[in-house]
């Protein structure tokens, strides 16, 4: 009965609806408290952004200059491997970012999760998070605020590895001499953000 093997092989199976799967899986995972890290991507004037949240708050914002798989792998390794693509969980963050880009919002009301930041860098980024919209500061001032006035270079490194750019506005930190300094997402993005905030002329 070779016919039987053929019928087994030829079974036309239903196709999986991936979107339905994810929305139902996300719902159940959240109910069971199993979605430790939720992420989604969004469009913005500085290109596509990946945003990730935990129950504590925003843990990561990544520009498209970073490799998505690497961003996710780092989150899995350093925060939790229970990481799911759940756009709804990132709704608030994405809405506030949209408002910021539309010029309707000058500050973020978002809790932050600092899991990816250690030591001195945490002090620097805490200070950076308090720099208001439309204002700028310097690497030296951020080093001072973190308790090491002479550690400008270390402050620069800390800002360069800021896991939550835009929300923690490291683009507002410039060179003491007046130069733009660096930006992990590329200077073009830094210019765009500073222009949006009226610091640089359009």
């Amino acid at each position: 009965m070779p016919d039987m093997e053929q019928r087994l092989s030829g079974a036309p199976l239903p196709k999986l609806d991936g979107e339905r799967l994810m929305s139902e899986l996300g719902r159940r995972a959240q109910e069971a408290g199993l979605a430790d890290v939720a992420y989604a991507s969004m469009d913005s004037p500085v290109g596509e952004l990946l945003v990730a949240v935990t129950e504590r708050g925003v843990v990561r914002v990544a520009f498209s200059s970073e490799v998505t798989d690497e961003v996710l792998a780092e989150l899995a390794q350093r925060v939790s491997p229970r990481l799911l693509r759940l756009p709804e969980r990132t709704d608030t963050v994405r809405r506030e970012l949209d408002e910021y880009f539309e010029g309707k919002r000058h500050g973020f009301d978002l809790p932050l999760d600092w899991s990816l930041v250690r030591g001195f860098a945490r002090g620097v980024l805490h200070a950076t998070a308090r720099v208001p919209f439309g204002q700028t500061t310097t690497y030296r001032q951020m080093a001072e605020a973190a308790g090491s006035p002479r550690a400008s270079r270390a402050a620069g490194n800390a800002l360069g590895s800021n896991p939550i750019p835009i929300v923690v506005p490291c683009h507002r930190v410039l060179h003491s001499g007046g130069g733009l300094g660096g930006y992990a997402g590329g200077l073009e993005r830094k210019r765009t953000l500073l222009t949006l905030e009226g610091v640089l002329g359009g």
């Binding site: 009965m1 996710l72 899995a76 229970r82 945490r122």
Partner: protein
């Protein structure tokens, strides 16, 4: 779960490198769904896949290594399928699953031309034979791959397939 102070890391990172769970879903949900659809029927496959993934997600951070995650997912799916078959068998409406004549099961694939209950009989096979037959014919895997996914030798995989086929042939001939 240690909290040094307000902002301490919640999950102390370990030496084990596990990929983001979403990556496992993206890579394997489709094939697991086909495996389940063939194993227990298309109607129940999606729920069973959800159960599989939730169980996997629950256990995920406790894994001691990140190897053979695909086989690990198949093991969970196979166990969920076996549970589902047992539940079906206990339902009065499908008593015939254990016996011979195939009635119209709700999860019976509509595509089956000559309705001799082939798929119902596949579902009623002993668990390891069912999984092996599905892996061999529906998923089109060779015996070595089946052995890897089922945690057995190539030879054991071959025997499970052959025992399953033999049983199906006999049942269809007797029917």
């Amino acid at each position: 779960m240690r909290r040094s102070h307000g902002n301490g890391p919640r999950h102390v990172s370990s030496a084990v490198t596990l990929p983001p769970f979403q990556l496992l879903v993206d890579r394997h949900a489709g094939e697991l769904h086909r495996f389940l659809a063939a194993s227990i029927g298309p109607d129940l496959a999606e729920d069973c896949l959800q159960d599989t993934l939730i169980s996997a997600l629950r256990a995920y951070p406790r894994l001691r290594h990140g190897q053979n995650l695909r086989a690990w997912l198949y093991t969970i799916a196979h166990n969920k399928a076996t549970d589902a078959v047992r539940r079906m068998a206990r339902r009065p409406a499908s008593v015939e699953l254990d016996g011979m004549p195939p009635g119209r099961e709700p999860s019976h694939p509509a595509h089956e031309p000559a309705d001799d209950g082939l798929w119902l009989r596949v579902r009623a096979l002993p668990g390891r034979q069912r999984a092996a037959v599905v892996h061999r014919f529906v998923m089109d895997l060779d015996y070595r791959a089946i052995g890897e996914l089922m945690g057995t030798t190539e030879e054991a995989a071959r025997q499970n397939v052959s025992a399953g086929l033999k049983r199906l042939r006999k049942e269809l001939t007797d029917a």
